[in-house]
Structure formats: structure tokens, C-alpha cells
């Protein structure tokens, strides 16, 4: 089996300092790390690998990104590949996904593609889904655990509020794992030294059969929306008209009322209307839409 793992190098969030006045980030103070979720993906790939299997690590990034590929070699990746267009300064998820998918196509399609479910930097989590789209493969995100049974993967996904869901998917597939899914192993000395000396293969656009225009995507509309705002914190005050012991009871409950959900029903269109109406009531969307 051939397992490919996508890695990304990004600033350690602890070293990203934003100037409160200008909003500028001090690049000279940033240190870079391998995205923790990608590290977990790499570890899962290494754990899965049988003696005859092969693990390839890929990244999209400038020469500095070689360091994470060396780290991957040191812990046991068999091959690595860096993809980059010289002169570029950043990539959007769509570009990253296109480059990775094309690189996999032009070299050799793996049986399984593992990656981190989202990067710490942007946290958009779009890349796995977009790669799957380009490869026309199924994608499963937010994986906390999975096992391989023949060419079927049984997985456990994390849902909101601690809930979990189980499922199965046939290979080939894109599996995006959570940072907590595994801790990356520590390289042995000989492998570390070998990795340090290794030449890192690089492919640019022409080698991938792409032209710069292929990477021109329209500006994402998401940028036009309002930034999320935090609702002002409500401070609990007991009702003044109540007798003292009632107020004490209110204070002791700290104002916590049981959270309630609402289930909408009807045809999909009706349900959608209800949800939109609900959101509009609370000012999340315009009623017109």
C-alpha cells in the first residue's frame, strides 16, 4: 500500500504577536512548526505501514519548508516531495489543494491520503475537502481514530460537544485526522543524520504541467462578510422583586438555565425557512437572503 501524507509548516501560535494598534504581525519573532494535526497524520501513517508499504510526505511551500520534510524523513517517511512556484509568498487553500492533488496525480496516486483536519494557522480545514474534490475521492474529516480492514477504513469522528460518530469508507480516500489522534515519534540518531543530509526533491508548476493561470482563483467571497463579533457578556442579577431566599437560590444557580434546543420539522424547504427565520431573529443573517 502507498500512503501519502500532506504536511504544512506554519508559525507556532505562541510566537505570533499581533501589534494591538496596527494589527501587524511581527514576522521576525515567529518560529515555525509542523502543524500538530499533520504530525498526528504522519504518525498514523507510520503506524499503519506494513513492511512492504510506502509512506510519502508532501508539502506546498518555499525552501524553508524543507525542514518539515526532513523531520518526516527522520521519523521514517520513505519519500518526500515539495511543491512550489518560486516567487510566491503565500497560498490559499484552493491553490494548496490543487498543487497537492496534481503532484499526486503526476507522480503516483496513493491508496490513501492522510492529512491534518485543519491547520492551526487558518483553521479553515478546507484543504482535505478540496483535495478530495480534485481527486474525486471521498473525504472524512475530524477523525480521532481509525482502523484499516482490507481496503475499508472504519473511523471514529469527533462531533460538536464531545459527541462521536462511527462510519466506514472504502479506499482510496482522504482521511483528515485530529491533532490528538497520535503523538509523533522521536527520530533515532542515524535516521536524523541521514535526513539532515538528504536532498529534498522539488517540483514547480511546469513539472506538474500547470501554468500560473491555473492558480488564479477568484477572490473568496468569504472575505466580504462581517468579522464575527462576540456577544456582550450578560451578567446575572437576581430579580429585585423576589423575596430574599428566592434571590439567594437564583444567585446560587448562577443564572444557569437549562440550555434548550429546538427541532424544526417539515419539508426541507420549510425547515430551511424556519432556520433562516431563527437566525434572522437573532441578527445572524439578513432576512432578505
Amino acid at each position: 500500500m502507498h500512503i501519502a501524507v500532506c504536511l504544512s509548516r506554519l508559525p507556532d501560535p505562541n510566537t505570533v504577536e499581533v501589534d494591538p494598534l496596527t494589527g501587524a504581525v511581527d514576522a521576525s519573532r515567529m518560529l515555525y512548526i509542523l502543524n500538530p494535526a499533520d504530525a498526528a497524520a504522519l504518525e498514523r501513517a507510520l503506524q499503519l505501514r506494513a513492511p512492504e508499504d510506502r509512506v510519502t510526505a508532501l508539502t506546498v511551500g518555499p525552501a524553508e519548508a524543507d525542514s518539515i520534510l526532513r523531520d518526516a524523513l527522520a521519523v521514517g517517511a520513505d519519500d518526500v516531495l515539495r511543491v512550489w512556484e518560486e516567487g510566491r509568498t503565500s497560498t490559499r487553500p484552493a491553490v494548496t489543494a490543487l498543487l497537492l492533488a496534481t503532484a499526486l496525480r503526476t507522480t503516483e496516486l496513493p491508496d490513501m491520503l492522510l492529512c491534518g483536519t485543519r491547520s492551526l494557522a487558518t483553521g479553515s480545514g478546507k484543504v482535505p475537502a478540496l483535495i478530495a474534490e480534485y481527486l474525486d475521492w471521498p473525504v472524512v474529516t475530524d477523525i480521532v481514530d481509525f482502523t484499516l480492514q482490507g481496503s475499508m477504513v472504519r473511523f471514529l469522528r469527533r462531533l460538536a460537544k464531545g459527541a462521536r460518530s462511527e462510519g466506514e469508507v472504502m479506499l482510496p480516500a482522504v482521511l483528515a485526522v485530529e491533532a490528538g489522534a497520535a503523538a509523533l515519534r522521536y527520530a533515532g540518531l542515524p535516521d536524523l543524520m541521514k535526513a539532515k543530509r538528504a536532498a529534498i526533491p522539488v517540483q514547480d508548476l511546469s513539472e506538474l504541467g500547470l501554468s500560473p493561470v491555473d492558480l488564479n482563483f477568484p477572490a473568496p467571497t468569504a472575505q466580504a462578510t462581517m468579522p464575527p463579533y462576540r456577544r456582550p457578556r450578560e451578567i446575572f442579577v437576581p430579580e429585585a422583586s423576589l423575596p430574599p431566599h428566592e434571590r439567594v437560590l437564583q444567585v446560587m444557580s448562577a443564572g444557569i438555565a437549562q440550555k434548550s434546543g429546538r427541532i424544526v420539522s417539515g419539508s426541507p424547504e420549510q425547515a430551511a425557512d424556519q432556520i433562516i427565520a431563527f437566525l434572522a431573529d437573532r441578527g445572524f443573517v439578513d432576512r432578505a437572503g
Binding site: 507556532d12 505562541n14 519573532r29 503523538a183
Partner: protein, 94 residues
């Protein structure tokens, strides 16, 4: 801000915390230590004296300077080594 609290100082330092502690303190041994030199010298303020006479220690924000190791006079109270390569403190400007 020029005048800073100890917390504010520590927040400017970057640590890559390993899962296992590189320094460990045997709080029992500290019960018979009157000097508590480690509490005084540790530049990261990582030693906290407890009411029962022992000392609480957390390795996570350690500068790896060695001061605690040298000032401790209680045989076997501190087990000291560096963290694994690549982990621990990383200075950017000092």
C-alpha cells in the same frame, strides 16, 4: 510597558513542552530543608513552597539554567537533566 510582573515576563518566552519532566523534585526531601534556596533563585519562579513543608515544582517553563541544581544542598532532592533535544525553552532574541 517596562515594569512587568513575573507572569508578563514568562509570557514572552517560548517553550516547547515535552511530555516527560526533565527535572523532578522529591517534595518529601524538601521537608527537612530550611533554606529553600531553589525558591529564591529560580529565575522562572517554578518552585512553590507548600504548607506541609514540601515544595511543588512544574518543569514546563524552565530556562534549563541549572541554578536550582547548584543551590540545592539536600542530597537527592532534585533530579536534573536537560530536556530532549528540540524541546524546552527557545530564546528568540536574548
Amino acid at each position: 510597558m517596562v515594569m512587568t510582573t513575573h507572569d508578563e515576563k514568562m509570557r514572552t518566552v517560548r517553550f516547547r513542552v515535552d511530555d516527560t519532566a526533565h527535572i523532578s523534585v522529591d517534595g518529601e526531601k524538601c521537608k527537612s530543608c530550611a533554606v529553600r534556596a531553589c525558591v529564591t533563585v529560580c529565575p522562572a519562579g517554578l518552585f512553590v513552597p507548600l504548607d506541609d513543608g514540601s515544595v511543588l515544582f512544574n518543569y514546563e517553563q524552565c530556562f534549563e539554567c541549572g541554578a536550582c541544581y547548584f543551590v540545592c544542598t539536600q542530597e537527592g532532592a532534585i533530579r536534573w537533566t536537560y530536556p530532549r533535544g528540540g524541546f524546552g525553552v527557545t530564546f528568540r532574541e536574548s
